[in-house]
């Protein structure tokens, strides 16, 4: 797809408008809109089953949304309508990389090979789509060495350099999570989408993950969009939090704003039966004030 004309402000990286996703009779996402700014860490939170992963799958092309528009605004000024691109081109051209809630590594390949697979498109071009590389002509040899250097860079960042030649399936859980992030970064993305990166990590591993994510943003300028349940991660590192419940946005703002939003508290903690009226009244009052 050719880039469309620029209609949004240059610091908005991702703009999701009126996104809806229907599975049969189930409305998984209903008219959901939000924006992610360039260079920000945006968190998407919500109770289980709220539709967070569905939003991710729509953004990364694994689902085709029923309605809505997802626009990605690259640094170079090019714009891509993600809902119209097939999944692999979203990574290849629009430069959106993702990780998965249940880790998806190439377990029978070594850690290093995992990172080399991520640089597939670059290396394919360098090898003249295999043909030139097969007969040893062209820049493939130099590019392959460069790919290994890039892999080494990310292995050092993710603290996996000692395990580079081990099969990815042999790594402990926390290391597999870091490897998946390093692999996504090897595709050189502008937006990195992380689906519950801290799930199953102990507090120390979560702290390492926080440091890694902040380091990624500081050094490469990559924006991050993450789904997370671990509030220590969300509140500490994110600049902007979007809360989703039953497929609808219930809150959107800074971590402090979201933390004190009664709707969010109600969604997460639930309320006693006799308090329902009170909460609804507060909510209506707030909404009235906002309007």
């Amino acid at each position: 797809m050719s880039p469309v004309t620029n209609t949004m402000s240059s610091d908005t990286l991702l703009k999701v408008e009126h996104l809806s996703m229907k599975f049969g009779g189930l409305m998984a996402i209903n008219d959901f809109s939000f924006e992610a700014k360039r260079g920000d860490i945006t968190a998407l939170i919500g109770p289980n089953g709220a539709g967070k992963t569905t939003v991710f799958n729509c953004i990364t092309g694994f689902y085709k949304p029923t309605m809505g528009m997802i626009t990605l605004n690259q640094k170079s000024g090019k714009q891509y309508l993600l809902e119209r691109l097939p999944d692999f081109r979203i990574t290849k051209e629009a430069r959106v990389a993702r990780t998965f809630q249940n880790i998806r590594l190439f377990s029978g390949l070594t850690v290093l090979e995992n990172l080399l697979v991520a640089q597939h498109n670059k290396l394919m071009k360098a090898s003249g789509y295999t043909i030139l590389g097969l007969i040893g002509v062209g820049p493939y040899k130099r590019e392959a060495a460069g790919a290994i250097e890039l892999a080494r860079f990310w292995l050092e960042k993710a603290d996996l350099i000692d395990r580079a030649d081990d099969p990815a399936g042999d790594l402990p859980y926390g290391a597999q999570r870091r490897l998946e992030i390093a692999r996504a970064m090897c595709t050189d993305p502008e937006l990195l989408c992380l689906d519950e990166p801290a799930a199953g990590l102990n507090p120390r591993e979560s702290a390492t993950l926080n440091a890694l994510l902040q380091n990624i943003r500081a050094e490469t300028g990559t924006s991050i969009l993450l789904i997370e349940h671990d509030m220590s991660v969300v509140m500490e590192i994110s600049d902007h939090v979007v809360v989703l419940e039953y497929g609808q946005k219930i809150s959107d703002g800074t971590p402090d704003h979201v933390r004190n939003d009664p709707k969010v508290i109600a969604a997460y903690l639930g309320v006693e039966d006799e308090e329902v009226e009170e909460v609804i009244a507060t909510v209506e009052q707030l909404e009235g004030g906002a309007n």
Binding site: T91, L109, M124
Partner: protein, 463 residues
């Protein structure tokens, strides 16, 4: 295993008792299994009446073999293996830490030299005429299957796409050569690459509709594709002459030198006595070169982005897509590359036989090639070559076992038991080496040291 310690000398009484019970159990089991198949046999007597022949002696042999085998296994072999493992573990010796011997380290070089010398040695040993059988039946026949299995390995072993119709590409290659050489008179050296290209084209044609399918569904569709090609060959009689096949296909030439009795023929030109062995030896080196080409390309491709993408596709297709890999073209290239080598092998087959008919391309051939890939260990070239030697060489060797007639009577034809041998070999290998002869995987790139990856981490693919 408390009795490992004291079983160093004589097996103790408890172990013998255990062995006897297990032997009795095995005897009962084998009696139950064989009593109807071996103990009783239906036959016709001289008046064409159906009678039952009782073969209690043969049944007793079967039962005794099972019982004695089980007893020996429990009392002698098992403790012995355990003891050896224990002493190895005590010495702190691990399989991976042991230094490989000279033979294992230079295995590939040694086997290549052995293959290059093979026809020369055979001719020196049994003479030109006697060498025919050894070079043709054992040499060329095995190498054709090695090449086919290496070609299928790209699709099944690397990309993890289960293809049950691989023989179709072999057929496309064979018929491309047979038809184009008999109708248009093109030479072997022109048609060899052409056959590969045609087969690759068919690989793409098959690949397109089946790309969305995975696992069992893919297997069934590829199986159907193989049958379609065969049925077209049978029924398109105007072109393919149907079940009669195409005969007197021109032979391959050595840079234009034909292998025949003419004045310009190979034997006359080099002042050698006339013999058909030269052509066979030439074909042996030709298929060896084709095998080496297949191996070289496979090894090179594995270290290129496309080969890594194939293996990544086998491990996890969704992750591949999330990394920007176009899985459609990646699958198509795997199909096309595998099919191309099948096509090469097919045109070689036609040139060697001088005759092709649809009968050579039945589903059983696909099954045999796939069995070789699975037995050898998916993805491993060495393992697959060993499996091809064992399976194809084994079935060829059955033809030679005339002495078995002395044991089982004069109507015993050993080659009819080749499928039994295949099944037995499958069961035995899968019991002891569930990942095939070579279950581990060599990484394609490394930072510090190249370590083989255990088969337990490698996925088989699902589509």
């Amino acid at each position: 295993m408390a009795n490992i310690e004291n079983s160093a000398g004589k097996p103790d009484a408890g172990l013998v008792r255990k062995g006897l019970t297990e032997a009795l159990f095995a005897a009962v089991l084998s009696f139950g299994m064989f009593v109807l198949y071996v103990g009783l046999k239906t036959d016709q007597n001289i008046n064409n009446e159906l009678i039952i022949v009782q073969r209690w002696g043969l049944l007793a042999i079967f039962v005794a073999v099972a019982a004695i085998g089980r007893f020996a296994m429990v009392v002698f072999i098992k403790p012995n293996i355990d003891r050896r493992k224990l002493s190895k573990a005590r010495e702190g010796e691990l399989d991976i830490s042991t230094e490989k011997g000279f033979f294992r380290r230079h295995f590939l070089k040694i086997s290549l030299i052995a293959l290059l010398l093979y026809p020369v040695v055979i001719v020196a040993l049994v003479g030109a005429q006697g060498s025919l059988k050894w070079v043709d039946n054992f040499g060329i026949q095995i190498l054709i299957y090695v090449m086919l299995a290496w070609g299928l390995n790209i699709v099944v072993g690397l990309a993890g796409l289960l293809d049950l119709g691989y023989v179709a590409f072999y057929a496309v290659g064979a018929y491309s050569y047979a038809l184009l050489s008999s109708y248009f008179g093109f030479s072997f050296w022109v048609l060899l690459p052409l056959s590969g290209i045609f087969a690759a084209l068919w690989g793409v044609i098959l690949g397109f509709p089946v790309l969305r399918l995975r696992g069992d569904y893919l297997a069934i569709v590829t199986l159907a594709f193989g049958e379609i090609i065969r049925l077209v060959l049978i029924n398109w009689t105007d072109v393919t002459k149907g079940t009669f096949g195409i005969s007197s296909i021109p032979k391959a030439t050595l840079f234009g030198i034909p292998f025949d009795a003419s004045a310009g023929g190979f034997a006359k030109l080099f002042h050698l006595p006339m013999s058909s062995a030269y052509y066979k030896i030439f074909l042996f080196y030709l298929i060896l070169a084709l095998c080496m080409l297949t191996a070289y390309v496979t090894i090179r491709l594995r270290r290129m982005p496309i080969g890594r993408a194939w293996e990544a596709l086998r491990e996890d297709e969704i992750a591949c897509r999330s990394l920007g890999i176009n899985t459609v073209t990646t699958k198509l290239t795997a199909f096309a590359t595998g099919a191309m080598f099948g096509g090469f092998a097919g045109s070689f087959f036609a040139a060697r036989q001088g005759f092709v008919s649809p009968e050579s391309f039945v589903f059983l051939e696909s099954a045999v090639i796939l069995a070789i890939v699975v037995l050898g260990g998916m993805g491993s070239l060495t393992g697959i070559a060993i499996a091809a030697i064992v399976m194809v060489g084994g079935t060829e060797a059955l033809r030679e076992m005339d002495f078995l007639k002395a044991v089982f009577g004069p109507d015993f034809t050993p080659e009819l038991y080749r499928m039994l041998l295949f099944g037995l070999a499958m069961v035995v290998v899968m019991l002891f080496k569930p990942r095939g002869f070579v279950g581990s995987r060599e990484p394609t790139a490394f930072l510090k040291e190249r370590r083989a990856i255990s088969g337990s981490f490698i996925k088989e693919g699902h589509g």
